[in-house]
């Protein structure tokens, strides 16, 4: 099948993760992975981002498929249930708002900047080497550390389920995928 430019977006996803090791401020670019799918869903009423442009999905597909790093087993039933998918979406967003709150506290001068990346919402990894100061307020860097934590955590979860189940198992419970599908259902009606 003919390859298109968007079939190489996995490079952008990989580059994003690598850049975060060198300068944490690149983490801001990850907002694209939030706003573009939302625009597709809200304006276009489709999951065009998932269907075509999601570099992360492509990366999992490549690692689990061509590189053979996946057992290619079915995901368990509970993982594709609505309870789990919606529950994970709520949990993910709750954690996201905690991160935004911590960013706000740094902006407000109540808290100092913490140069750590929090993996799986629990483990604080030292990440000071990727911070070289900012021209802006420290809160800008705090958001970058927080956002990179979100992106790294979801990548790690995606890699684990890629190995255990099918390459793109992450797509089953990806909060952005669940949310954009919900938006499409609300916008287009449930009848297909």
């Amino acid at each position: 099948m003919k390859k298109h430019w968007y079939d190489y977006l996995w490079i952008a996803s990989l580059l994003y993760l690598v850049l975060g090791f060198f300068n944490i401020l690149f983490a801001w670019l990850g907002l694209l992975c939030f706003f573009i799918p939302l625009l597709f869903a809200l304006v276009g009423g489709s999951k065009g981002y998932c269907n075509r442009y999601c570099g992360r999905g492509q990366l999992f597909g490549l690692l689990g498929g061509r590189f053979g790093l996946s057992r290619k087993k079915d995901v368990p039933g509970w993982m594709k249930s609505k309870v789990f998918r919606y529950g994970f979406l709520i949990f993910f967003f709750a954690m996201f708002f905690v991160m935004l709150w911590n960013t706000w506290l740094v902006f407000a001068g109540v808290q100092d900047l913490k140069q750590v990346v929090t993996l799986l919402w629990t483990f604080k990894l030292p990440w000071h080497w990727a911070y070289h100061g900012t021209l802006f307020a420290p809160g800008v860097a705090q958001f970058a550390f927080g956002f990179y934590s979100v992106m790294l955590t979801s990548t790690v979860l995606g890699l684990v389920t890629m190995v255990l189940f099918k390459p793109r198992s992450w797509c089953v419970y990806c909060p952005m995928g669940t949310m954009t599908q919900l938006i499409c259902k609300a916008r287009n009606g449930r009848e297909v």
Partner: protein, 69 residues
Amino acid sequence: MNLSRKRRKAQVDTSLCVACGCCVKVCPLQAIEIVRGITARVNPDKCVGCGKCAAECPASVITIREVEA
């Protein structure tokens, strides 16, 4: 004499489909599409039941079934 033939076709469990579009990418006959961001839908006229979409589907909600042609 029964002249009806059975053919293999892909079927999507639309209640569990996450509409990720992985199936669309692998279908050699463009016989499957994502409808309005909600679910995948197979065009039975085009589908030959090769099973590529079923193998690819991350949620494993596509099955290949024999149907009357």
